[in-house]
């Protein structure tokens, strides 16, 4: 029986580990290690291999949930990870100094995969700012020729992550449930 996968990516601390845990049917596995100097100020540990979760569908089918390593020096794994993936969830930390730059980086890094599948963007930690800045993410995406689901999310809220995934699949095919 074929297995499938959904890829979660984004910068360190954007909530990939938490988002995967929110929808995984097994305790999410995170291979954490002591952070490098680059990331130590943000997290005491960060994901250097990958996060992993699993959805077990009725009938035994499995959907693997992979979180890309948070540190860019592991980007050699990204092309391997995305092979055969159903879609990409990009999580962006709105409280970082340059979240739009982060977005640009990941759009470029996963450009080929996005063109073949679908992208959904979740912007986290938006409550740290006085008002929503979602519009500027939309503007940047539009300039890149993309109109994709882009929501503020709290990665700890299962309902937020589910809605983002639903949007990912309906964006692939709005007629999915038109029976």
């Amino acid at each position: 029986m074929p297995d499938h996968k959904i890829i979660f990516t984004g910068p360190v601390g954007a909530g990939k580990t938490t988002a995967i845990a929110a929808v995984s049917d097994i305790p999410a596995v995170s291979t954490d290690a002591r952070a490098s100097d680059m990331t130590r100020s943000m997290k005491s540990s960060t994901t250097v291999a990958m996060d992993y979760g699993l959805m077990k569908l009725d009938g035994g089918e499995k959907v693997h949930l992979y979180g890309t390593p948070g540190q860019e020096r592991f980007d050699f794994m990204w092309s391997i990870l995305t092979e055969g993936g159903l879609g990409l969830v990009l999580l962006l930390d709105d409280s970082r100094p340059d979240p739009l730059g982060d977005m640009e980086f990941f759009l470029n890094a996963f450009g080929g995969f996005i063109r073949k599948t679908q992208l959904a963007v979740g912007v986290t930690k938006t409550d740290l700012r006085p008002r929503s800045r979602l519009g500027i993410y939309h503007d940047r995406l539009t300039r890149s020729g993309m109109m994709v689901p882009t929501f503020e999310i709290d990665a700890r809220r299962r309902s937020d992550v589910i809605l983002l995934l639903e949007a990912l699949f309906f964006a692939l095919d709005p007629g999915l449930e038109a029976e």
């Binding site: 009938g59 938006t126 109109m147 882009t150 309902s159 964006a171 095919d173």
Partner: protein, 406 residues
């Protein structure tokens, strides 16, 4: 309807075990939910910060039944139940059933009541029914309160001054308040088309939009004063201060205010950090909700139902009221211009869902129209494009969606 349970202080493995218990021993009558939306909660007092969690929950939702888990005895009464660890499934089932019975009694008792009456009763004093003999925990007075169904619908809408916590997923049965129950129409039949339209200016949404416009132009907060309360809009901050109770707002937004007094005046900036009494809403969420409640499945008067429309961008659905089919409608209208009637046809859903979505999205300036096409709205062409992806994956996507919504 299943009883929703918040599992607090429980690790993921215990949550899985609980879900298994719900399915195997309780016939799916319970399901796990997030803390702010659950009917009852289970708290592991032995977890790190468990007693603080209990205190926080008791303060935040003092009328919600609670099941406490601990290895050491905890004295409880009334709506609080205790199960000693290591847990035996039957003991947990008994405690959950008792807590759920309380939830059902409250709902039943609330049915014939008017929200205002229920609110008044809720404020009345009552005997303390929960006491905590545990060390360091506060003793709380709790008055069981009947929660009117109308307030349950709103429970996730504007819960606090935290703008990020507004999103609400409406169940099918709750969506009628927002979407109505109007039958599909033939857009070529003028009489039927007229019935599918409403005048936003006669509703709260029209007055809110006007207040927002005035406020934006003057770059000052504007206060919309109504007979029962007021709403201060601050477009620059993207927020609104709502001096109305939930049920008042919902009632006002859903009826014509033709003869009601209303006035807009500019006010000084409101200190958002210390709201006292009124609630702070994200402005988009307030406009979206008010538009849906006025629309009830209709479009603003003058809307060309044959015009093809397209979304400028996706609405921030995690922070808005999301009714059934809203995500599908968003996905379709974000792909290509399509008429509202054709969109309903492609998605095979009642037109009222698309009409309500269009109304709410228009208020947030998310929709652009293209010229009407005389013979365009045949839905087949759109359907083909929507299904152009690998058909072998459609079944998989459906199974994943079904799994996520369990």
């Amino acid at each position: 309807m299943p009883c929703s349970v918040a599992a607090l202080g429980l690790d993921q493995r215990t949550r899985y075990a609980l879900e298994l218990l719900f399915k195997s021993k309780l016939d799916g009558r319970f399901l796990l939910a997030e803390a702010d939306l659950a009917d009852l909660c289970i708290i592991d007092l032995d977890s790190y910060g468990g007693r603080e969690l209990w205190a926080e929950q008791a303060q935040a939702q003092p009328r919600r039944p609670t099941v406490l888990l601990s290895m050491s005895e905890v004295e409880t009464a009334g709506i609080t139940h205790f199960v000693r660890k290591p847990m035996r499934p039957q003991e947990l089932v008994t405690a959950l059933s008792a807590a759920a019975a309380k939830v059902r009694r409250d709902l039943t008792a609330a049915m014939p009541r008017r929200p205002a009456a229920a609110e008044g009763q809720a404020r009345g004093s009552g005997k303390p029914v929960v006491t905590n003999a545990g060390a360091g925990a506060a003793v709380r007075s709790v008055t069981p309160r009947a929660v009117p169904p109308s307030m349950r619908v709103d429970s996730g809408v504007p819960p606090s001054a935290a703008p990020g916590r507004v999103g609400l997923r409406l169940a099918e049965q709750d969506s009628k308040t927002y979407i109505g129950s109007a039958p599909d129409i033939d857009p070529m039949d003028r009489e039927q088309a007229a019935k599918a339209q409403f005048d936003p200016g006669a509703y709260l949404i029209g007055r809110l939009v006007r207040a927002v416009k005035l406020s934006t132009e003057a770059d000052r907060p504007a206060r919309l004063e109504l007979d029962h309360g007021a709403v201060t809009v601050m477009p620059r901050a993207g927020q609104a201060v709502v001096d109305l109770r939930h049920y008042q707002l919902r009632a006002l937004a859903g009826v014509q205010l033709t003869h009601a007094r209303s006035n807009v005046r500019f006010v000084d900036p409101v200190d958002l950090r210390n709201p006292t009494g009124p609630e702070i809403w994200p402005l988009d969420a307030l406009l979206w909700t008010s538009a849906l409640l006025a629309s009830r499945g209709r479009v603003p008067v003058g809307t060309d139902l044959n015009a093809r429309v397209k979304l400028k961008r996706w609405p921030n659905l995690t922070r808005l009221v999301v009714f059934p089919n809203a995500v599908r409608i968003t996905a379709l209208l974000s792909r290509e211009p399509v008429s509202l009637v054709a969109a309903a046809g492609v998605l095979k859903i009642p037109q009222r869902f698309v009409f309500a979505f269009f109304t709410a999205a228009s208020v947030l300036d998310l929709v652009e129209e293209t010229a009407a096409q005389e013979d365009a709205p045949a839905s087949a062409g759109v359907a083909v494009r929507a299904r152009s992806r690998d058909p072998s994956r459609l079944g998989l996507f459906r199974r994943i969606l079904s799994h996520l919504r369990r």
